[in-house]
């Protein structure tokens, strides 16, 4: 387990990413509901054209944070600027510019896909071409299908389409793939990448490591109302990756003490027939050299990389909930 003080500079966020104009700026956001503090102190900036993830366990304050950004909730402290506007005092200016996909928002059962798109298009001054949008999101052929008869994946596609129908500059997507099967999740991710290519800046709320790792340029990890880390998924992972872990099947078997005596090795254990060795950055070279001297062949040798999930566990001290469990 990596101690949190090893995380160093990822915690401070920003730094090398201060380049272009920030589309969303959140500083020291604070929000409570009565006695309950939902957001203690959250700060981050989203740059133009990036996919920015807000990652955290359930109840961490993710949705409250984005709802303050969308102007759906009044904050109790801090500042929020979206495309230069304050959502608390100037929400009307943002309605044309920000498209939102809300967690668990439904439509009337008998409303058809095409009608929903046309209806929402009528809300905006310069809407997208609904037929084109439907085709881009794989909704073509479903125009006459009522909402009640759509599958989870189709509903999610419609929800994304509706968030884009006003040609927004920013799309805020909350729990995009919760409840979807793996194939539908992958389709949705491909869609989001397509949306970014249209020039839309995307803020994505998720509790899925896989989703954040796959989609996001940068991620803010939020836990109990605070940003506990901010950076690219790669930065977050390397910050918690203290060293390397090797796994192999020794042929013939090796005496554990041989490897344990190596200065580069910090830990050695057995998992079934396999030897698992943890150590510093040069542990791979040291172990393979030692094995070669003894004439032992490390079968199925592999080096394990830490994932964003390991980073998340290290940062929040919590095992993340999978999409299936949350659904």
């Amino acid at each position: 387990m990596v101690k949190s003080d090893q995380l160093g500079d990822v915690r401070t966020g920003r730094g090398e990413h201060a380049a272009p104009m920030s589309v969303i700026e959140v500083d020291n956001l604070h929000k409570r509901y009565g006695e309950h503090v939902a957001v203690q102190d959250v700060s981050f900036a989203v740059e133009e054209g990036e996919i920015f993830g807000i990652l955290g366990p359930n109840g961490a304050g993710k949705t409250t944070t984005v709802e303050c950004v969308e102007g759906l909730r009044e904050r109790d402290g801090g500042t929020v600027r979206v495309l230069g506007h304050d959502p608390a005092t100037d929400p009307a200016a943002l309605r044309e510019l920000v498209g939102a996909q809300l967690q668990e928002a439904e439509l009337p059962d008998r409303l058809r896909v095409g009608e929903a798109l046309d209806l929402f298009a009528s809300f905006y001054r310069a809407p997208a071409d609904t037929a084109e949008l439907a085709a881009a999101l794989g909704l073509d052929g479903l125009e006459h299908r009522p909402f009640a008869k759509l599958s989870g994946g189709q509903r999610q596609k419609l929800s994304i389409a509706l968030s884009l129908v006003g040609n927004p500059q920013v799309a805020v997507l909350d729990e995009l793939t919760t409840g979807l099967d793996p194939a539908a999740r992958r389709d949705t991710w491909a869609l989001i990448e397509g949306v970014r290519e249209r020039g839309v800046t995307i803020m994505l709320v998720t509790h899925s490591m896989e989703e954040a790792e796959r989609l996001c340029d940068r991620v803010a990890v939020v836990d109990t109302g605070r940003v506990v880390a901010l950076g690219t998924p790669g930065e977050l992972v390397s910050a918690v990756q203290a060293g390397q872990v090797l796994r192999f099947l020794p042929r013939p078997d090796v005496d554990d003490r041989l490897l344990a005596d190596l200065p580069q090795v910090t830990e050695i254990r057995r998992e079934r027939d396999e030897v698992v060795v943890a150590g510093g950055a040069d542990v791979l070279a040291a172990v393979t050299a030692a094995l070669a001297r003894e004439g032992i062949f490390p079968e199925r040798l592999r080096v394990e990389q830490a994932t964003l999930e390991d980073a998340f566990v290290a940062l929040t001290g919590r095992v993340p909930v999978t999409a299936e469990e949350a659904a």
Partner: protein, 244 residues
């Protein structure tokens, strides 16, 4: 098409796909009218010298309006809130108030359609002449609509779910219809009961509709009672209504 017109058109389309609402809106009052018409047999001394069917035409009109206002409208709005439709609208340039306006609009269309059908069928089939005081009738109808829709929005404000909105609507609707004279016509009520009825929204509605049907301008007191419910209900609903 503007957003409000598009919302209203969409609401109308959804309503047409909801056969139950249409059945309640049109078929139910019409069926009751026919039953009453067939049971009616000339002027009745117990009903103040008018026929049963003539007594029931204004009651059925108020019945239909209050059904739409107190049960259909709040259930629809609570459903929209429960499903996150109202919250979703808040993220668009269009205020959810416009969806409310569209809802009231389509329900008004149903109510006007039903009142025309009831009046025409009553006139042609059962010899109940059309309202003698047209303007007074229209005013009484309008104020009744405003009062029951405002009442309904208060229900939609306090009900946490669509189901509870429906239950509250039904529970409130029965006593209101009692005072409107659905079971004991106002003419057959005792003085005390009728005095109480005068102060209820649907009781005042039936009284003023009845007066206009008979050819005189509705009593100002009845109209003011309706206006008071409409204003108080609207103010209360504006303060209490939550979009999520």
């Amino acid at each position: 098409m503007t957003a409000t017109a598009r919302l209203a058109a969409t609401e109308w389309r959804l309503l047409r796909r909801e056969p139950l609402v249409l059945a309640f809106g049109f078929a139910f009052p019409l069926a009751l009218l026919v039953v009453m018409g067939l049971a009616s047999s000339g002027p009745d001394a117990d009903l103040g010298g008018i026929s049963l069917i003539a007594t029931y035409v204004p009651i059925l009109i108020a019945f239909n309006l209050s059904m739409l206002g107190i049960s259909v409208l709040p259930t629809a709005m609570a459903t929209y809130r429960e499903r996150g439709v109202l919250k979703r609208l808040r993220t668009t340039p269009v205020s959810p108030w416009r969806l409310l306006a569209a809802q009231i609009g389509v329900n008004t269309v149903v109510a006007v359609g039903a009142v025309i059908i009831v009046l025409v069928v009553a006139d042609l089939a059962f010899d109940v002449s059309l309202p003698g005081q047209g303007l007074g009738f229209a005013l009484a109808f309008l104020l009744t609509g405003a009062a029951v829709f405002a009442f309904g929005l208060c229900i939609a404000s306090v009900a946490p779910t669509a189901r509870t909105a429906n239950v509250i609507g039904t529970l409130v609707w029965f006593p209101l219809m009692f005072f409107a004279g659905l079971w004991i016509p106002r003419a057959a009520m005792g003085d005390t009961l009728r005095a109480v009825s005068d102060w209820t929204p649907v009781g005042a509605a039936v009284a003023s509709l009845q007066e206009a049907m008979a050819g005189s301008f509705p009593e100002v007191k009845h109209l003011l009672v309706l206006l008071a419910y409409a204003v108080a209900g609207s103010l209360l609903a504006t303060r209490l209504f939550r979009w999520e």
